[in-house]
């Protein structure tokens, strides 16, 4: 019975991707507030996509702000899987249709040069495993109608992930202050989001440690070469066709993305 509803929920989300029209909240058919079942739904789809040939290139943390956690009634972040086809080059133009109900948030990305496959990785393990740091814009989206999500919906829906844009200029971890780095995101020169590293679980490396431990727990340890999106440094913002968004993170530089105008 449980298995059937997990498959049904996973199918419902895949159908939303395929048709481009959002589905009803999957929490309606899943056990209330069970994160375990929600991750089982996510896992079914991850396996499905891997079998289809999509390449896993890392992971993302979501719900890394205290405010967002309390809005969703949880006290921990969540995670999703990044696939290679979700990557967007710095400054590239993308169609808003590639992500359902898109919103953007600015983040710190880590790229690993060592596996994080030890038992209970610590921040020392994460620092040792990090090759470099990049500024990132995550384009999140939701396959659930009107972003009407609770914690179960967003976890089942791969943590509402969509696309991610990485800056091209790597910085070394020891050269940046990831806790106090200021963040400002602009659309046509207008500030749409402002924040700092502290907003992400107190420090983006705290989110990285949580991800590293969680992926060991679920038997898919993070590997050398993986990209880790650590979580938003400020509020997320809806985007529309024609928008050009730039995020600047102090010490890390800038990253941009353009959303194609509708008539193109």
């Amino acid at each position: 019975m449980t298995n059937e509803i997990i498959l049904e929920a996973a199918e419902s989300i895949r159908a939303a991707y395929a048709s481009g029209s959002a589905c009803k909240p999957v929490r309606d058919i899943l056990p209330a507030m069970s994160l375990e079942t929600a991750y089982a739904v996510q896992h079914v789809n991850t396996q499905h996509w891997i079998e289809q040939g999509r390449r896993v290139v890392g992971c993302k943390a979501g719900l890394t702000s205290k405010t967002v956690q309390s809005q969703l009634g949880v006290d921990q972040p969540d995670f999703g899987v990044l696939f290679a086809d979700m990557f967007v080059s710095d400054g590239a133009e993308v169609s808003v249709n590639r992500v359902m109900q898109p919103k953007v948030e600015a983040e710190v990305a880590l790229v690993l040069e060592r596996d994080l496959d030890m038992t209970l990785p610590t921040v020392a393990d994460v620092i040792r495993a990090t090759a470099y740091v990049l500024p990132a814009i995550e384009v999140v989206g939701s396959r659930i109608q009107n972003w009407d999500i609770n914690i179960v919906d967003t976890i089942a829906d791969n943590a509402s992930s969509g696309l991610y844009v990485l800056g091209n200029s790597p910085k070394r971890l020891e050269d940046v202050d990831l806790q106090l780095c200021g963040m400002v995101m602009e659309r046509r020169g207008e500030q749409i989001s402002v924040g700092a590293g502290q907003a992400c679980l107190g420090h983006p490396l705290n989110a990285a440690v949580w991800l590293a431990r969680t992926f060991v727990d679920v038997g898919m340890p993070l590997k050398a070469g993986d990209t880790i999106l650590t979580g938003a440094l400020g509020p997320m913002v809806s985007v529309a066709p024609g928008d050009r968004v730039e995020a600047r993170i102090s010490g890390l530089g800038s990253v941009r993305v353009e959303f194609a105008a509708e008539d193109q």
């Binding site: 202050d177 806790q179 106090l180 780095c181 200021g182 963040m183 400002v184 207008e190 500030q191 402002v194 924040g195 700092a196 590293g197 502290q198 907003a199 107190g202 400020g234 600047r248 993170i249 102090s250």
Partner: protein, 264 residues
């Protein structure tokens, strides 16, 4: 509105009395007093003059409404400003006497120390070359009106809610301060996270505006005076006994403790 100097002088005494006695008053606008912006600033000057007659002296000026969001919220398209006096000064690491305030709030700010006077229309380079040092700062705002509500004229007449400020250690003005992460902490826990970018995109723009407003008022920002450039985040309500600190990227901290109420 036709208003005699006598009437404005009497209103100035009321507003100053509200600050002196820590007793909220009704909004002038809701009493049917319809001031022009010019009259509101005239009232502000007369009110602050009463502080000077009690032995306080001017230490600088503060800028208000320096974020786009705040200007839109207030329906205005320019900043406001008012004098900072010696009676408002709280030593860095010192104590703020809660009983002197009505419903105080605190904001993280950037402070400038001028080495040369500024007045009139200047450019960014002129503003930057007049700065001796920059520092992280905390401003305590405390509207003298009921429920912290006011019209534009009300808040100008009330010296822009200025009531206290602390400045941290001064730093050489050779750092880029346009996107510094700022974390406001109560008892060591982050309560607001933002960036100096929220201050007009760059706090130096606020100094340019302060010079312009000084010129328009026929005065100048004097050498040796302090300019508080504006808030980097929303204000946070203060409570007795709380330790308040701002931690700013590259600039460090400013802090004070709010006094405990006297025991009965």
């Amino acid at each position: 509105m036709n208003m005699s100097n006598q009437e404005i002088t009497e209103l100035a005494a009321q507003v100053d009395g509200a600050a002196l006695n820590a007793q909220a008053i009704e909004q002038l606008s809701s009493l049917g007093i319809d001031l022009s912006i010019e009259q509101a600033y005239q009232l502000q000057s007369l009110s602050v003059a009463r502080r000077y007659s009690r032995g306080e002296h001017q230490l600088g000026v503060k800028m208000g409404f320096t974020s786009r969001a705040k200007m839109i919220q207030m329906g205005v398209d320019d900043m406001i400003w008012g004098p900072l006096t010696s009676g408002m000064f709280i030593e860095d690491g010192g104590e703020m006497n809660f009983s002197h305030f009505i419903h105080p709030r605190v904001e993280p700010e950037i402070a400038f120390l001028l080495k040369r006077p500024l007045s009139g229309v200047i450019n960014l380079a002129e503003a930057m070359s007049a700065v001796e040092a920059v520092a992280p700062a905390l401003e305590v705002i405390d509207s003298r009106y009921n429920n912290f509500q006011f019209s534009l004229q009300d808040v100008i007449a009330d010296n822009c809610s200025s009531s206290g400020f602390t400045v941290g250690a001064w730093q050489k003005a050779d750092v880029d301060i346009s996107n510094l992460g700022m974390v406001l902490e109560f008892d060591g826990a982050a309560v607001q996270v933002g960036s100096s970018a929220a201050i007009l995109g760059n706090p130096y723009r606020s100094l340019v505006a302060a010079a312009r407003m000084a010129g328009e008022a026929g005065s100048e920002l004097t050498a040796g005076s302090i300019v508080l450039a504006g808030a980097a985040t929303a204000a946070e309500a203060l409570r007795p006994g709380v330790h308040v600190r701002v931690n700013t990227e590259k600039l460090g901290v400013a802090e004070f403790t709010v006094s405990q109420p006297l025991s009965e």
